[in-house]
Structure formats: C-alpha cells, structure tokens
Amino acid sequence: MYSQNSTSILVNTELAKTPLVKILFFSKDHLIQQLVQNQLDNFEGIPFKLVSSTTMMEFKQLLKSLRPSVIISDFYLENFAGKEALEYSKMIYPEIPYLFIADALCKKKALQYLQAGATDFIQKENIEELPAILFKALRQSEEKNAIKQLKQKKWEDTQRFKSLIEFSNDPVLLYDIDGKIGYVSPAISRVLGYSIQEFVGTNVKKYIHPEDFNSRLLIFESLVNNNQKFVIIEEQRLLHKEGHYIWARAVISDARLKPGIEGFITNFIDISDRKIKTEALKSSFELVKEQNKRMLNFSYIVSHNLRSHSSNMESIIGFLETATDENEKREMLLHLKNVSKSLNETLYNLNEVVSIQSNTTLKVEKIYLLPFINKILLGLSNPVYLSKTKIEINVPENVAILYNKEYLESVLHNIILNSIKYKHPNRNPVITISSIFIDAFLVVSITDNGVGIDLKKNKNKLFGMYKTFHGNKDALGIDLFMSKNQVEAMGGKIEVESKIGESTTFKIYIKK
C-alpha cells in the first residue's frame, strides 16, 4: 500500500493570484493516480495541489483538514467505499464538486451516483477530458458559491434592516393616502398599548386627538401637495388603548414612489414625560410671576399707604417743635393721635393681606352653598330692609364646596353689601345670586341693577388697596382688595362685568 502526496505547482506570473486548486484524490489504484497526475500536469496555468488518500479514514481526515476545492475519486472501491465517501462529503461540504473516474461498464450506476450528488463521471478511456471537466466543475462551483454568498448577504441585510425597525423603541408605521395602516412595528404596543394585529388595518385618523386633527391634516396636506420629502409634527396627542392620550412628536415621510412601500411612513416618539415636565415648569413660572407681581404690588401699597401716615407725622412733629402757643400744641397732639390710630389700622390691614397671601395651610370644610348664602343674608337683613332690596337666589340645594368658611363669608358679604351700597338712585336694588359649574370651577355670580362701574377707567383700581372711585364717603377701598386676595389664596379668581347705569356682575371662581 502506498500513499503519495505530490504537489506540482505551475507558476505563471500572470496567474499568480489564481487561488490554489486543492484536489483530494481517493483511490487505491496506482495506475489511476498516475493517469490523473499525467492529465493534471497538462492542466496549464492553474496552480494545484493533489493530495491522495487510500483509506476511508484517511479520506475523511483529509476532507476536513484540507477543505479541497474538488474531489476526484475512483469509482471502484472496496465495500462500496466510493458511495460512502460521496455521501459523507455531500453531508459535510455539499458545495465541493465530486468527480468519479470510471469505465464504460458503470453507466447504469452513474445516474444513481449523480442523483446522490456526484458532479460528473470521467471514463478511463477518455481521461484526457479530465482537465476540461475539472475546469467546468470548478467554475460551476465557484458561480454557485458566489450566488449563495450574495443571497446570504441579501438575507443578512434584510434581516438587519428589519431588526433595526423591529427592535427600535419608537414605533414606525406605514399607511396609504387615506390613512389605512399596512404595517406597524412592535414598539406600538409599548407606546400605545395596541398589538400589531389590532393596529394593522385600522385608520391613523382614529388615533389623533380631535383638537389636533385639523392642524395635523394641514401639515399632511402640505406633504402631499408640495412635493416635500417629509414633514414634522412637533406635538400631537395620540389615543392610547386604555383611553387616555399621550403626547407624541412625529415625522411623516412621503414614500409613495418607493417600490415596496408606496405609501406614507410615520415614525413617532413619546414626548409625554417631556411635555409634563414643561407644563410643570410653565405653571411654576406662572406662579412665581404671580407672586412677584403681588410682591411688587404689596411694596407699592406699603410705599403709598404707610408713607402717607409717616409724612403727616413728620409734619406734625415739625409744628410741635416750633410751636409756642399751647393751643397749637394741643391741636397738633390730637392730630398725632389720629394719625397713629390710622397707621395702626393700615398696619393691621396689611398684616391681614400678608396672612392671606402666605397662608398655605388654610382650614377648609364642606359648605352647602344655599344655606350658607341664606345665613349671610340674615346678617345683612338690616341694610337689605332699609334699601328695599329684592334678592333672588338660583343656587341648587345640593351644591357643596370645600372652602375656608371665613373667607367665603367675607367675600360674599362684601360683594352683596357693595351691590346695596352702590344702588341706582332711581330704583330699588335687585340682586341675583346664581351658581354654575364651568370646567374646574364652581362660578358664583352676583348681579345687581346698581349704578355700574366704568371698567375701562377703573378696572385696575377696583381691587386695589385703598382705591376708591365712587367718591362715596364710607368707601374704604379695602374690602374688595381683601376679597380678591382671599379668593386667589383659595386657587380661584374674581371677575367683574358692568354696564354703567345698568348693572354689575361679580363672578367668584371656586375651585372644585
């Protein structure tokens, strides 16, 4: 038994780059090997390496270690070894061409072998065909490999892009010009709660908040009509499966001309968190702004009202210092006493304001509005009787609010009393008190038929401290200022509407 590994390399400078053709040869027949070797030596221009094996074990080992470009095997081997070798090699390296050397007698069996994966048969008598057949087999295998690699790459590319979309945290959807959804990525269930099956086939319009619908439509139409590649919707609300809306920023691309898509692509991100934070920031900014305004207003009040007393005091003291007349001195002391009294009152009022504005732990309780108003009217029965005021109340019996009792009493008392005070000289006062729910508020309206207020001129003075404009002797200009502060401290507001000579309506907004 012999085993000979022979290597013959025909080096041609031009073909230096041609890869080495590794041939695994399987035969015990020395003559056949010689035949093959002779033919291959004529196989000009292609470098090759022929490795021979004589036993099945040797063949199997070499097949793995050598990874041959082609296998050439003797057809006649003991114990059907030829067939076993073919099956074995087709099992582990199906792409390696497998050639058999046989004689004319085996034609019948050849078909069976070809079906099992053999590439070709060469008859010993025609052994000179070997180089051509070998070349053909190598080229076919090369082409097959190239196609296979291309397919593999294409499959990998597709797989990669698919993964890119499917693993993305942000949903991507595809739909036609009417909005019918043809595809959606799995992220839709994370963001909007729907499964892919639930979402595909529905219409995008279904998910857009009614208030955002028209602006979205305008943007979409500009995409359709203006030849743009994409449009951005900075903010829109989208319906979550659970019924609430999320805030999203979306990009819509026009891909009607893209083969395989022929529609519109939307990808969007959930910006709810960002939106909530922005809103919180905005509202705290508004709060700080409002507090600043109040502080400025307060410093203005202090500047005006405290200084008016101190300047009078200064003046009086000047007179006292230079007074020679006892009567004058006595007069000045009396003035001083009065100023000190009013200063005290002003300080008391300012203190009230500060305590209203800084009271963060106000006691609130459930108050039924109708009996509460009746109680206040009882306290006002004297002025009501004297002025012949008629009062109408349109407040349902069951309306109740959570409020600070003292504040509500003071606010309602002040406004009702104001309506009586500023009655029209030519008619008896009629005051209507009603309540209505508007958004987050219970709005209590108090309408009179009094002299009215010129709001154009007096809107700013109306709720200012010590600001009066009717010239009434008993107007102190403090009550409405206090009422406004109390209502605002409870998270509401006061509005006023008026027609001069006809009527005035105060609206108190009470947070539900």
Partner: protein
C-alpha cells in the same frame, strides 16, 4: 402780588398741615383745596376764562378717589389750550415708588415731584419764583 395756591388731595389732615405751613410763611397767598381731581377739574372748567379764579400753582396728589392725579393731568392737558393762565403743577405725594417718579417725568407740564411732607422752604422757593 397775591399768589393763588391750589391743593388737590383727599387727605384732610395733610391739607390742614400744608395750609398751616404756607400761612406761617407770611406771604400774600390765597389757598384753595379740592378733595380729588374731579372736583378741581370741574371748577377749572367752569373758571377757565377767569384769570383770578385760576391758581398759579397746584400741589397735586396721585392717589385719590373718583379722579386720581394722573387722570386729572390727562383731563387738564385737554383743557390747557383753552385756558388763559399759565399754571405751574407739582406732584406732591407720599409715594416713593419708582413707577410714580418715572410716570411724572413723562408729563412735560409737571414741574417737579415733591415727596410729602413738603418742607416749608420748598414751598417758599416755589412761591418766590412764580
């Protein structure tokens, strides 16, 4: 020559004290008082052709009911072209608020801003230069 001084203010005590201050200067002056801008304006409107019934100088307060100092100024500016007399106007207020100082500067017709109480020598100087 007798000068006519007008005080427009709702603070009765202040008016009384200022009147006393002016009287102590022993100058020939007539003093007229109004409780707010409206009262003063109505009178001026009625007396616009009368040299002697219009004041030479006005001490005008800012915060007043009915018609405040600024509203008085706006109404007065409309009336001014029809008035035969030149009237000097001073703001006299207890307010030391920056906004009020700035607002007073915007009126060319306001000759100055005096923070209350008005010192005796300031009144004296004003009456002298008239």
């Amino acid at each position: 020559m007798t000068k006519s001084v007008c005080i427009i203010d709702d603070d009765e005590l202040y008016k009384l004290l200022l009147k006393k201050t002016i009287q102590k200067l022993n100058l020939p002056v007539i003093i007229t008082c109004f409780a707010n801008g409206k009262e003063a304006f109505d009178t001026f409107l009625k007396e616009k052709n009368s040299q002697e019934n219009l004041p030479d100088v006005i001490f005008l307060d800012i915060n007043m009911p009915e018609m405040d100092g600024w509203e008085f100024m706006d109404a007065y500016l409309d009336l001014q072209p029809t008035i035969s007399k030149e009237i000097t106007i001073y703001i006299a207020s207890s307010s030391i608020a920056y906004q009020d100082f700035e607002k007073a500067k915007k009126y060319a017709e306001i000759s100055g801003y005096i923070v209350k109480p008005i010192p005796s020598d300031t009144v004296y100087k004003i009456l002298q230069i008239l």
